[in-house]
Symmetry: C2
Subunit: 347 residues, 2 copies
């Protein structure tokens, strides 16, 4: 393997990311070293890890490095993303976020006011939610050795009962809580140099506390899986779920909410919106008996009016571990996990 | 401040780092947002934060981004550093490390075998100590946008009683557990292009579990402060302690263990070894009545034979919050906190 090199696709959150993590990390570790006794570690490959506490609850922990380019975009910036993304990972594991830590690496010569603006955005998200920043790191790399700035955040939460996506069951309904691909389409168009100011394209980045905390309080036992469709988009997320349960996930394309500008730009960019990142959307696998009630609650009590039941988990003799899309035209096609580089520095 | 830019010195771990963190972060946050109720957050500016649990113990959490250049050096590499540095931060807070998370950002085109070697080093440290890797992230930045690779690690530990350095007291003795500046001198010489293969220069990077866990078990109540002298070295660490206690710290230069090659190269590079980073040394503030016994234990039971009592904390009417060095020649001088850029990407 001496001549192999890292490709952009290794970081796209699709098939190649899964395989390099397998090769670099998972294959190298004994089972003992990826598991948390009584909790959930790398063995479940979920949004966060969960460590059991003596009182029966769990500490939920997550880490992500945010490299998005451009660092400021319609709807947000690197700071909002770094705070929201990590808070959302804690929430998707069923955790109530209680603290965040940050590690900033910045290029020498970077304008201090730009950095201040991004950091203020990050602190603004935390401040609004009352989540303290309890620790951090700050490094500078010499000019030319880093493009602008990377912020890594770690999120800490408490979960009474973590949501582990392997608990998704046959029959469960799949709910998405908002429109798909807004963040990805926005960043991608900007990276391609497409003028988007009057397009209506806008990142959906936001912390999902106002969605997930009420849901956890009221419907925790009916929610079997939760994840946010960031890198790799809805396509990767559903494929991960299909693979881990060994079931068939069938999705009705017509039910997947996609905003018109995202649809337009995806076509222009030649990309499936289902493979584009969202940063303010949750995908839930819920008990079929409670699905309609939960959807109503999400739409009308919590104000996520684009929420939709898009499909369900089925057992199938032949199509095990696959995602099948019933297209608008009524035909069926397998929705493959994304492959290739899509777009670098999306988050 | 619109024309100000980030300087290398902002990341050197000295005076300028303190001031930019003050400006960017601490000034922006209300007290509520840096404190952990019943625990320790950014308000104590320690190696880790500590969150209280219902059983009376604490979760200790730390984060650091490792950017060291070169990524492989005598005595270690980026992977060993990323695992050890974060484990040590947890230990210095009195925590027993129980898990690590990592976030890798790598440049497109980076050789896969080099990355594999670094990641294996990191996993090797964890494996040897039986500390699981429970979560992570992996991103790729396009060619030319990042020099090689950055690894950010978050460490999680459990502390019965966190070591908070503000508890350093008048009369306490200061112990260093090994020679000072080995890591910093090695990296600095390499960055200057100095040939060091036969110099004896070698990074001291290592996890300090075999030092701190026995010490915590046997002498926890006598240890009032613990920190590792990484960026900014012993000089910054002691100044931080002097400032936070408002006391005078007096240090006997002759008692500070510095290896001969470090002394030689420091002179050649025109730098004070006391400002150079160590990555396998702890500095402890201990009860004076137990200091000699603890030193014996560290030297002869734990095998840290270079350990030394280098000074003590005194009250002083005039020299409040200062560090004074009694030099080898018998004169006294104030040891200022490091200022300026020293060396970028030291850790």
């Amino acid at each position: 393997m001496s001549s192999k090199r890292i490709l952009l696709s290794h970081g796209s959150g699709g098939v190649e990311t899964t395989s390099i993590l397998e090769e670099l990390i998972l294959k190298k570790l004994s089972e003992k070293l990826i598991k948390v006794p009584g909790g959930y570690g790398l063995d479940v490959m979920d949004d966060s890890a969960a460590i059991p506490l003596s009182d029966g609850s769990f500490i939920v922990v997550s880490i992500d490095s945010y490299t998005v380019n451009p660092i400021v975009f319609p709807g947000g910036d690197l700071g909002v993303l770094a705070a929201s993304g990590t808070i959302n990972d804690v929430l998707m594991m069923g955790g109530r976020p209680i603290a965040v830590l940050d590690a900033i690496v910045v290029e020498e010569g970077f304008p201090l006011d730009s950095l201040e603006s991004i950091v203020s955005s990050m602190l603004g998200v935390l401040g609004k939610l009352g989540i303290p920043l309890i620790g951090g790191d700050f490094k500078v790399m010499p000019r030319g050795q880093l493009d602008k700035v990377i912020i890594t955040t770690a999120g800490i939460g408490i979960a009474e009962k973590p949501i582990v996506d392997t608990e998704l069951r046959i029959g469960d309904k799949i709910i998405v809580t908002g429109t798909i691909g807004d963040h990805g389409a926005t960043i991608m168009a900007l990276q391609q140099g497409i003028e988007i100011s009057s397009s209506g394209l806008k990142s959906d980045v936001k912390p999902l506390t106002d969605l997930m905390l009420p849901l956890l309080e009221k419907y925790r036992d009916y929610i079997h899986a939760a994840r946010d469709p960031t890198r790799g988009g809805l396509a990767m997320l559903l494929n991960d779920w299909a693979k881990s349960t060994g079931a068939l996930i069938i999705v009705d394309e017509e039910k997947i909410p996609v905003r018109e500008p995202v649809r337009v730009y995806s076509e222009m960019l030649g990309i499936d919106p289902l493979a584009l990142a969202s940063e303010g959307v949750a995908v839930l696998g819920v008990d079929p008996d409670a699905a309609d009630e939960i959807l109503e609650f999400i739409k009308y009590k919590l104000g996520y009016e684009d929420a939709s039941i898009i499909g369900e988990v089925r057992s199938h003799e032949k199509y095990k571990g696959l995602v099948v899309l019933e297209t608008v035209s009524g035909s069926y096609r397998v929705l493959d996990p994304p492959r290739g580089e899509l777009v670098p520095r999306i988050c």
